[in-house]
Assembly symmetry: C2
Homo-oligomer: 197 residues x 2
Amino acid sequence: MPRDGRPARLRLQQAALDLYTERGFDQVTTAEIAARAGVTERTFYRHFADKREVLFGQEDFLRDALERAVAEAPGTLGPLATVLWAFRRITPLLEDNRPLSEPLHQLTTATPALRERELAKTASLACTMTAALGRRGVDDRCASLAAQTALAVAGQATHLWIEQTARPLDHFLAQAIDDLNSLCETDDLPKDTHTSA
Amino acid sequence: MPRDGRPARLRLQQAALDLYTERGFDQVTTAEIAARAGVTERTFYRHFADKREVLFGQEDFLRDALERAVAEAPGTLGPLATVLWAFRRITPLLEDNRPLSEPLHQLTTATPALRERELAKTASLACTMTAALGRRGVDDRCASLAAQTALAVAGQATHLWIEQTARPLDHFLAQAIDDLNSLCETDDLPKDTHTSA
DNA sequence: GTCTATACTGAGATAGAC
DNA sequence: GTCTATCTCAGTATAGAC
């Protein structure tokens, strides 16, 4: 049984990313991934719940960083601004990760099954942000809405950042925040349309 | 092979919802669903791409209604207000659908695989709304952001509406819109942080 | 309508770290 | 001794090819 330097988990992730990229997600079997990583198929499933999960291993890291950043944000900021501040804080991590996230983005946009999993990860991240805002005293409903809105902004920025090579992520983030501002300012949302609960 | 009044597609949907609810999504096979509906397993897969899709058959109907509502919204409304206006317009449809959406909500919250599919459906709906806003002259970036924000608001309202039996959907929708208003008003988002592209 | 590849699961065994 | 990581074997059900 081959046992090179990197742990099996990491070898599996690398093998999966390579094979999926070379041949397409559907044209790769979990057995092949395991073989290339030098382990059995069963070992693949001990590390990852399914064939998709192997691509989303570093998400936990970013989530922890974001959670910490929310806790460290200035107390003067509102809920929405807090999450956006946290996101801007961790852009360096994302910039470092770009070599990985770029091929990953190609895969997820090309494969509906992977897009689904990515959306689930984002939703889970929104829950984490909601809880983190809750710890700052924000009430549940606003926390949830702020987390989702902020993630929509961040997601839009990240999307443009991946597709256009030239500018840094922070540029698109600032741009998306401006977009949100203009939306909220110009939009005449109905107010006091119900008697308060 | 039994051939009662309702078409096979509808019988399959009903059988799936019942069986999933009785025993849990994972404990039901597609063969069982087909058997209860009086068709072969092959027929199941002719109507639905996979085991999850059978639960999301009426989504297309709502999407079309929403798309039409966006087109009919007053031209004075901003992008965000347009989608929210459209959503408020179709609440009667959702109220009628409540007997179905309630057990469906139980299932999707209990089953990660179904939650994933639901998120994918919502994302697809956001794309449709983005395109509909685009047809009204809204630029792509703002349209996408407005669609996603509006769907977050609508999703939050729908969630609370399902969990609390007492009040109509429109109440929670108005409440969520108020929440968004307070978020955008109190939050001091950074402005003009970048030179315009 | 039939056949089949393969994603995924379960129970149990082995081997090394501590 | 326990714990964790890995392998072996055998099976089921989904989903797609023919």
